[in-house]
C-alpha cells in the first residue's frame, strides 16, 4: 500500500501558506513565455486559473464543451460566496471560517488545505469587486452579507440569487481579456476524452471537436483539470445536462487516484420530482432558509386532507404544524447544514408526513417573513428565485408555501490532490469541484464558489510555478509523440465500439437506469445489502450498455448522442467505484449516511478511530477491482467531536 504524501508544509497551521509562498520556486517572465499549460473547464476554477496564468505570462489553452466559457455551470450557483471579511463585526475570523468548514465537512477534510482556503477567501472578494462584480450593498455603499447553513455569523456575499453568474462573468471577463491579449487560446465545443502521459508526466489531452467530430491532440508542459462535479451519475441532479466526469475519469484511468467518490451532497431545497419525463432538477437556493420556515403537518389527518385538496396549507394552524428543523435543532433551526436538513426531510416523508402529489415534499414557508419584513424586502432578497419557482411549478411562493425535496447537487469526492493541488500523476492538477480536498464529507453552503475561485485565482498560480520551474529546459511538447497517437487511437477505438454496439435503446435509457440504482442504493441513505446489490446491478448495466446502446448519426459530425454516450459510459464505471467506496466506509459522516451507523436519535455516527482517512482509489484495469489507499487525516488544531447543531 502506497503511503500518500499530501506534502503539507511544516510549521504552525496559520503560517503554512505564507511559508510555502516564500519558499516555493518561481519561474522568471522570460521562461513563462516558453511554457504551455492546458486548462480543462471554464467554470469558476478553470476560468479564474486560465485568466490568472495568462496574466502571469504562460501560454494557456483552455477547453470547454459549451459554445462559450461563460456558460459553465458555476453560472447557476445562486446563494453566495463565503469570506472571512468580518465586515459585519459579528465575530468572524479566518479561524472561524476554517473551523466551520472542517466541522461542516464532518471532520473528513485536510486541515491545512481548509485553513488556506479560509485565508485567501478575503482576497477573492477584493478581486471580484475590482472586476466589477455587483455584490449586494447597503445604503451606505458598503457590502452586505447574509447567513448560510452551518454558521452562526453572516459571512456570505451575494448578488441577489445570481451570485454564481456574477462571479463567473467576472472570471469570464478576465479570461476574455487574456484571450484578446493572445495569452489564452480558447478551444470551445470540445470534449476532453483522454489525458496523455509521457514518461510519467501529464503532457496533453485528446479532445473531440464537437462540431466536426475531429479527434485532436493538444500538448503542453502541464495539464490542469477543472471539469466540475459528477452529480449527473444520478441522472437527475441540479447539474447542467452536459456536466460530466469524463476528463477526471480519464485521468483516473491513467493513474490519478480518485478520492472519496461516495461523498455526494444531497441539497435539501430543490423542486420535487414530478414525472418520469423529467430531465433535471432545479435548486432553490439555501439562502431561502434564512427567511423560509420548513414544516410538514403534525397530524396525519391534515396530510390526507391536503392531498385530497380539501384544505390549503394556510388552513393548518401553527400548533398543528411540525417545524421539524426548529424542533430538532433549536440552536441552528432552519440553518442546519445541508446533509442534516436533507436527512430530516427524508425522515418526515418516509414517516408519511410528506406533502405534494407524491408525498415526497415538505413546505418552505415565507408567510411569516413576508409579514415581518414586507413583500418588497422579500422580493429584493429572493425575487428571481420566487419567479423561477413559479415558472416551473405554476404556483406563487408569495401566496402558497414552496414545496421542496432534497436532490443531488454537489460532489465532495474527486481526484486526490496534495497541498499543491497536484494529482498522483506528476504535472496533472485538479482544481475546483473536480478535486476532493476542502469539503470533507459535506460542503457548507456558499463554499463551492469560494473554493473554485481560491484554487484558480490564488492557489494554483503559485503551486504550478513550483513544478514548472523544473520544466524550463523541457522544449515544447510535440503532439506527434507516440503517446499522443496511442491515446488518440484508443479514443477513436472506444468511440467506434460504442457506435457499433447492438443498438437496442438510446443512451438516456441506460442513464436513467444508472440514476435509479445510484439514487436508491447509494443516495441519501445507504446500507450493506443495498450497496452489495447495487454492485451486481451496475455490472449488469455495464454489460447491457456495451452490448446494446444505440447511437444514431456519424462520428465526424455534430452528434450530441455520441457525446452523451461517452459521458454515460464513464458515469457507469464511476458509479461502481462510488458504491465500493460507500461499502468500505462503515461509518456515517456528512452526506454519507450508512443506516447501520447512527445514534439513537438518528444522527450520523462517525467512527474516527477507524475511518478518519481519505480513501484514494487506484485504477487497476476495467475488470479488476480498484485498490484503495489511505491518507490518514491529522487533526492537530481541531478536536474531533460529535457534530451538534442542537
Amino acid at each position: 500500500m502506497t503511503l500518500l504524501n499530501a506534502r503539507i508544509p511544516e510549521g504552525p497551521l496559520a503560517d503554512k501558506w505564507k511559508a510555502y509562498k516564500s519558499g516555493c520556486k518561481l519561474v522568471n517572465p522570460n521562461n513563462k513565455r516558453k511554457l504551455d499549460i492546458i486548462v480543462v473547464g471554464t467554470g469558476l476554477a478553470g476560468a479564474s486559473a486560465a485568466a490568472t496564468l495568462g496574466e502571469l505570462g504562460y501560454n494557456v489553452k483552455v477547453f470547454c464543451y459549451q459554445d462559450t466559457p461563460r456558460r459553465a455551470h458555476s453560472i447557476a450557483a445562486q446563494g453566495g460566496i463565503n469570506s472571512a471579511k468580518n465586515y459585519q463585526n459579528d465575530g468572524d475570523s479566518v479561524y472561524r471560517l476554517f473551523y466551520d468548514t472542517i466541522k461542516g465537512g464532518d471532520y473528513r477534510a485536510r486541515e491545512a488545505n481548509v485553513y488556506r482556503l479560509a485565508e485567501v477567501s478575503t482576497n477573492i472578494i477584493d478581486l471580484c469587486v475590482a472586476q466589477g462584480v455587483p455584490f449586494a450593498r447597503e445604503y451606505g455603499g458598503l457590502l452586505t452579507n447574509r447567513s448560510f447553513g452551518g454558521a452562526q455569523v453572516s459571512r456570505t456575499f451575494y448578488a441577489r440569487g445570481q451570485t454564481g453568474q456574477q462571479l463567473l462573468l467576472g472570471a469570464y471577463g478576465a479570461l476574455s481579456r487574456q484571450i484578446a491579449a493572445g495569452k489564452v487560446e480558447l478551444c470551445n465545443r470540445r470534449d476532453v476524452l483522454d489525458i496523455v502521459v509521457v514518461d510519467g508526466k501529464a503532457r496533453g489531452v485528446i479532445a473531440r471537436n464537437l462540431v466536426t467530430g475531429e479527434i485532436e491532440r493538444h500538448a503542453a508542459h502541464t495539464v490542469v483539470l477543472a471539469n466540475g462535479g459528477y452529480g449527473n451519475v444520478f441522472f437527475l441532479s441540479t447539474n447542467a445536462m452536459g456536466s460530466n466526469v469524463t476528463p477526471a475519469w480519464s485521468a483516473y484511468r491513467k493513474g490519478a487516484f480518485f478520492a472519496n467518490p461516495s461523498f455526494t451532497q444531497i441539497h435539501p431545497t430543490c423542486i420535487p420530482v414530478h414525472g418520469d419525463f423529467q430531465s433535471k432538477l432545479t435548486l432553490m437556493s439555501e439562502s431561502l432558509r434564512n427567511d423560509g420556515r420548513i414544516w410538514v403537518p403534525a397530524k396525519m389527518r391534515d396530510v390526507e386532507r391536503l392531498r385530497n385538496r380539501e384544505i390549503q396549507p394556510s388552513d393548518i394552524p401553527d400548533q398543528d404544524r411540525d417545524y421539524y428543523l426548529e424542533r430538532r435543532y433549536p440552536a441552528f433551526g432552519n440553518l442546519v447544514p445541508r446533509d442534516v436538513a436533507s436527512r430530516a426531510a427524508k425522515e418526515r416523508c418516509d414517516a408519511g408526513f410528506g406533502v405534494g402529489s407524491t408525498g415526497f415534499a415538505v413546505f418552505l414557508d415565507f408567510a411569516d417573513a413576508i409579514k415581518r419584513k414586507g413583500h418588497d424586502t422579500i422580493d429584493a432578497l429572493y425575487g428571481n428565485l420566487f419567479q423561477m419557482y413559479e415558472q416551473i411549478v405554476a404556483e406563487s411562493p408569495y401566496e402558497k408555501p414552496m414545496m421542496i425535496y432534497p436532490a443531488v447537487h454537489y460532489t465532495m469526492g474527486g481526484l486526490w490532490v496534495d497541498y499543491e493541488l497536484m494529482t498522483t500523476i506528476p504535472g496533472l492538477y485538479a482544481i475546483g469541484e473536480c478535486n476532493f480536498s476542502d469539503h470533507g464529507a459535506n460542503r457548507l453552503g456558499a463554499s463551492a464558489l469560494m473554493q473554485g475561485l481560491a484554487d484558480g485565482y490564488f492557489v494554483l498560480p503559485y503551486t504550478i510555478g513550483n513544478y514548472l520551474a523544473n520544466e524550463i529546459h523541457t522544449p515544447r511538447i510535440d503532439p506527434g509523440l507516440p503517446e499522443f497517437k496511442a491515446a488518440a487511437d484508443e479514443v477513436t477505438d472506444r468511440l467506434n465500439k460504442m457506435k457499433n454496439a447492438g443498438g437496442k435503446e438510446p443512451v438516456d435509457h441506460y442513464h436513467r437506469r444508472l440514476g435509479k440504482i445510484m439514487w436508491e442504493q447509494c443516495g441519501m441513505a445507504r446500507n450493506d445489502a443495498g450497496l452489495t446489490e447495487a454492485l451486481y446491478l451496475l455490472t449488469e448495466l455495464r454489460h447491457d450498455y456495451a452490448k446494446d446502446v444505440k447511437i444514431p448519426g456519424g462520428m465526424d459530425e455534430y452528434n450530441p448522442e455520441l457525446e452523451k454516450a461517452c459521458r454515460v459510459a464513464d458515469f457507469i464505471d464511476l458509479g461502481e467505484l462510488m458504491v465500493r467506496d460507500a461499502l468500505q466506509r462503515r461509518e456515517s459522516c456528512g452526506g454519507h449516511f450508512r443506516e447501520e451507523y447512527q445514534t439513537n436519535d438518528g444522527e450520523a455516527l462517525r467512527n474516527d478511530k477507524e475511518f478518519a482517512f481519505v480513501a484514494a482509489w487506484e485504477f487497476k484495469g476495467r475488470d479488476i477491482a480498484a485498490v484503495m489507499h489511505r491518507e490518514e487525516l491529522q487533526f492537530k488544531e481541531i478536536k474531533l467531536s460529535q457534530r451538534s447543531y442542537k
Binding site: 462559450t68 472586476q131 480558447l186
Partner: protein, 257 residues
C-alpha cells in the same frame, strides 16, 4: 397533450435546410419544452431516425445556452423566460408549433437549431471587462458604491448572452447585449476608469462582426428573457457620444500643442 411540430432541419452549416413535420403525443403539461423535444428525440432514435439537434445545458434559465424561435418568437410565447423554462402548459393541446433557429447573419447555423454565437465572445473580448489582474487590488469596502448604482449595474449584468435580442431585432442589432455590458461596468467606479475606451472598442467590434444597427423598436427588451431594459442602450449611446466628443476634443488639443 398532443402537438404537431414543424422543425427546421439542417445537416450542417453548408447544407440547405427546411422545415420538417413531426407529431408528439402524450406530453404532460408539466413537462418543459425541452423535455417535450427529448421525447421526440427518443422516438426518432428508436425509430432509426435522426434526432433534432438543439442547444441546451443548465435547463434552469441562467446559462443562456438555449435559443429557439418558437412560433416566430425568441424563447417562445411567455415573457421573461428562456426556452428551457417554458412549459407545455403554455401551449394549447393539438397546437402546431413552429421551431426555428435564431436568424441573424452574425449567428450562422451549425446544425438544425444550433447557431454559432461566438461573435458575442468577440465583442466581450474587445473590452467587456475591467483590466485588473488577480492580486494587488484594494480592499473590497475601500470604495463605497451608492446602492442605487450598484443595483442598476446588477440589473444590466444579469444578461445571459443568449442572443434573443439579436434574434428579435429586424436589423439583427446587438445593441441591447452591448448596452447591458457597457452599463454594468460604467455604473460602477471600478469600471468607470476604462468606460470611454470600452464603449468605443465594443461598438467598433460589433460593426465589424456584421450586426445591424438599432432602429428603436424595443423588440429586444420585449423578448429578452431577463427583461433587460432599453435604458441600457440609451446609456450606452450617451457613453459613446461622450467618449467620441471627449476623444475628438483631446485630439484637437493635442494637435494644437
Amino acid at each position: 397533450m398532443n402537438f404537431k411540430l414543424k422543425i427546421w432541419r439542417q445537416k450542417n452549416a453548408k447544407a440547405k435546410g427546411g422545415m420538417v413535420s413531426y407529431d408528439v403525443t402524450g406530453i404532460s403539461p408539466d413537462s418543459s419544452f425541452f423535455e417535450m423535444l427529448d421525447t421526440l428525440n427518443q422516438q426518432l432514435i428508436i425509430g432509426g431516425g435522426d434526432p433534432v439537434a438543439f442547444d441546451h445545458d443548465c435547463r434552469e434559465g441562467i446559462c443562456g445556452t438555449c435559443s429557439l424561435y418558437i412560433n416566430g418568437r425568441p424563447h417562445g410565447p411567455v415573457k421573461g423566460v428562456t426556452t428551457c423554462q417554458l412549459h407545455m402548459r403554455s401551449f394549447r393541446d393539438g397546437e402546431t408549433i413552429h421551431i426555428e433557429p435564431w436568424r441573424a447573419r452574425a449567428f450562422p447555423v451549425i446544425r438544425d437549431l444550433i447557431v454559432d454565437r461566438s461573435a458575442f465572445d468577440r465583442i466581450i473580448q474587445a473590452g467587456g471587462y475591467v483590466s485588473v489582474n488577480s492580486g494587488g487590488v484594494p480592499d473590497a469596502n475601500s470604495i463605497p458604491v451608492p446602492k442605487h448604482d450598484s443595483d442598476s449595474s446588477f440589473d444590466a449584468a444579469t444578461c445571459i448572452g443568449c442572443g434573443a435580442c439579436v434574434a428579435s431585432c429586424s436589423n439583427a442589432a446587438a445593441m441591447l447585449f452591448i448596452g447591458a455590458k457597457v452599463s454594468h461596468l460604467a455604473l460602477l467606479p471600478q469600471g468607470r476608469v476604462e468606460a470611454a475606451k470600452r464603449v468605443q472598442s465594443m461598438v467598433a467590434r460589433m460593426d465589424e462582426l456584421g450586426f445591424g444597427s438599432c432602429s428603436n423598436t424595443y423588440a429586444c427588451e420585449a423578448e429578452c428573457p431577463k427583461s433587460i431594459s432599453v435604458i441600457n442602450i440609451a446609456r450606452m449611446n450617451r457613453e459613446f457620444l461622450h467618449a467620441k466628443v471627449f476623444s475628438e476634443k483631446e485630439k484637437i488639443i493635442r494637435e494644437s500643442l
